[in-house]
Symmetry: C2
Subunit: 346 residues, 2 copies
């Protein structure tokens, strides 16, 4: 393979909107429960404990790369991991999600949060270095949770459907809200800086739940904080991907916040997304994760449709519109990778 | 009051896109936990038991009309109520939502569902008659759950975040999916017919969770069944409202399914929604429910913004973008009704 054909070159070039020989592909939650080797390696180990073991992080990160031959790896980690290092008692409960023992609902609770000291994340830096060495060329994506999404866990105390308390804080006490998000933006930025310094080739900022807000509220209450994270990495030399679920109405401000790539879920055709983000911003996505349950001819048609709809985008990284569902047959994922490469070959 | 100024005339006329002296307003879940008199009346009575007691249904339906002087009442009921009459063991668990004892996941389970016999809903008809009499002119809205939303509870066994099993059925066994939705469409239609025959002035079809689908999947897997319900009422003489959360990308097909009014959540400005549904279809919505937690000047500005954005719509019924949140101060709701009437007076 020539240098321009290495997976790193292809994935990073697509993120930058540069010409590529084929469309690169990876899957959100590719390191996860869809893989039997993942379930075996994780057996009896709590999620956040697993994130703190560099050898295990390396193994779990590499599993889908070995199996599917994707164009990028994503660090096995969790967006709430750095919260534990700023004074939050958080654990990830199987079948529930992140649970915060003492939800943050007033100024005093915000004031108790500590700045994130990078040395508290030495285990993350070590995991990144170890994984980059083992990946021998395949780029590694680092990631963090965006301020709104992190705040929602802290304020609600866990996953939420309506974000009632989070929005109540935004509307009732905007100063407390902005203080909390400023602190979380600093935390996310520091978490990403540690990963960049240790060698990741790109970063993704997950604002998974920002789609719960109107565009006006997003611009007022969230965008400045996410922009602080993304713009804080403008000199880091790595592409910045910005993703949230159900954000069809927020794609323009999410791009404007400082993204090189905007991740799109399955609800918005990439052709519409390309118009929304404008030229100069690449797209990532957006196959419906549940479509992988269909018979192969349907999967194939859906993959080809996504590639076609991406035609007008500045650059395209193929992905699902959200994480791999646990019941997904991993062999289908492997076939999708091969199909994307073959169907997009230029 | 002259006849054209009765609340019925105003609400029904707005639904039909006809001229009105002011914008009518009601709130989804106005008969609910935000009211102390509701919490008192419901104390110790399970949700579905309450729905089966005509005297209690009447009282709960009237409470918000008395308190807020809204332009329409909505029958106190639940979308899963008719499921219990077609052979489903379902209950509503406080803090969880509808729970189905034996989820429906294959053809055999679908085949066991029975047609809905209207006489099984005599208690609904009686509740409607009693309530209409007590309302003395304020129109009563009846409602049902749309096939996708009902199916999601039946297939998942309860509320869901990702609708993984529901979508798996759609993609893996489309014939089973369509058989299930056909049956649910008939059930919803029969449930609405009972309410119309007993005297409701309008109906709302709740497809609360349809926003989880792409437009292509909505059109293929859902729209024909919802259209069966809505078109089945085209001669009923009552406006048909069609609502789902996070359906900014589905407003056009939701209108095309046979709606006179499309309900819009707070994510889509009504000016954009008006373009999406086209002329001839009215809009309902769309204040962010959590905005009611803000200080009054913010609430007032948001209400005025919604009224202004509705300017181009064929007709407008003011509402929230989703149900009243339980922590909402009912006095704020009362003020919103007065403000909508005053600010929209023509």
């Amino acid at each position: 393979m020539s240098a321009s054909n290495t997976p790193e070159a292809v994935f990073v070039r697509a993120c930058r909107g540069q010409a590529v020989p084929y469309t690169p592909v990876w899957f959100m939650r590719q390191a996860g429960r869809s893989l039997p080797e993942y379930r075996k390696a994780r057996e009896g180990i709590a999620m956040l404990d697993a994130c703190r073991r560099p050898d295990l992080v390396c193994e779990l990160t590499l599993q889908p790369v070995r199996r599917h031959v994707v164009d990028a790896a994503i660090l096995f980690s969790d967006i709430v991991l750095p919260l534990a290092e700023i004074g939050v008692k958080v654990e990830i409960v199987a079948g529930v999600g992140p649970v915060v023992a003492e939800p943050i609902r007033d100024e005093a609770a915000v004031a108790k949060l500590r700045p994130l000291l990078p040395e508290r994340l030495d285990y993350v830096a070590e995991a990144v270095r170890l994984t980059v060495a083992e990946l021998s060329g395949t780029p590694l994506i680092g990631f963090a949770g965006a301020p709104f999404t992190l705040a929602s866990y802290l304020v609600e105390g866990g996953p939420s459907r309506q974000y009632e308390r989070t929005k109540a804080m935004m509307y009732r006490w905007p100063d407390v809200w902005h203080a909390l998000c400023s602190q979380l933006a600093e935390t996310a930025l520091e978490f990403l800086r540690v990963q960049v310094a240790a060698g990741v080739s790109a970063v993704q900022l997950f604002d998974s739940w920002a789609g719960a807000l109107s565009e006006a509220d997003y611009r007022r209450f969230v965008m400045p904080h996410s922009a602080h994270v993304l713009r804080g990495l403008s000199d880091a030399g790595v592409p910045r991907i910005h993703f949230g679920l159900g954000t069809g109405h927020l794609l323009a401000p999410m791009a404007q916040a400082g993204a090189d790539v905007v991740g799109v879920d399955w609800r918005t055709p990439l052709s519409s997304a390309a118009q929304a983000v404008g030229s100069g911003v690449a797209l990532q996505g957006n196959l419906e994760p549940a479509a992988l349950f269909a018979p192969w001819p349907v999967v194939e048609a859906e993959v080809r449709r996504v590639l076609e709809e991406a035609g007008t985008a500045t650059g395209h990284v193929f992905n699902l519109g959200h994480g791999v569902l646990p019941e997904t047959d991993p062999d289908v994922l492997t076939r999708v990778v091969a199909l994307v490469h073959e169907a997009s070959a230029r």
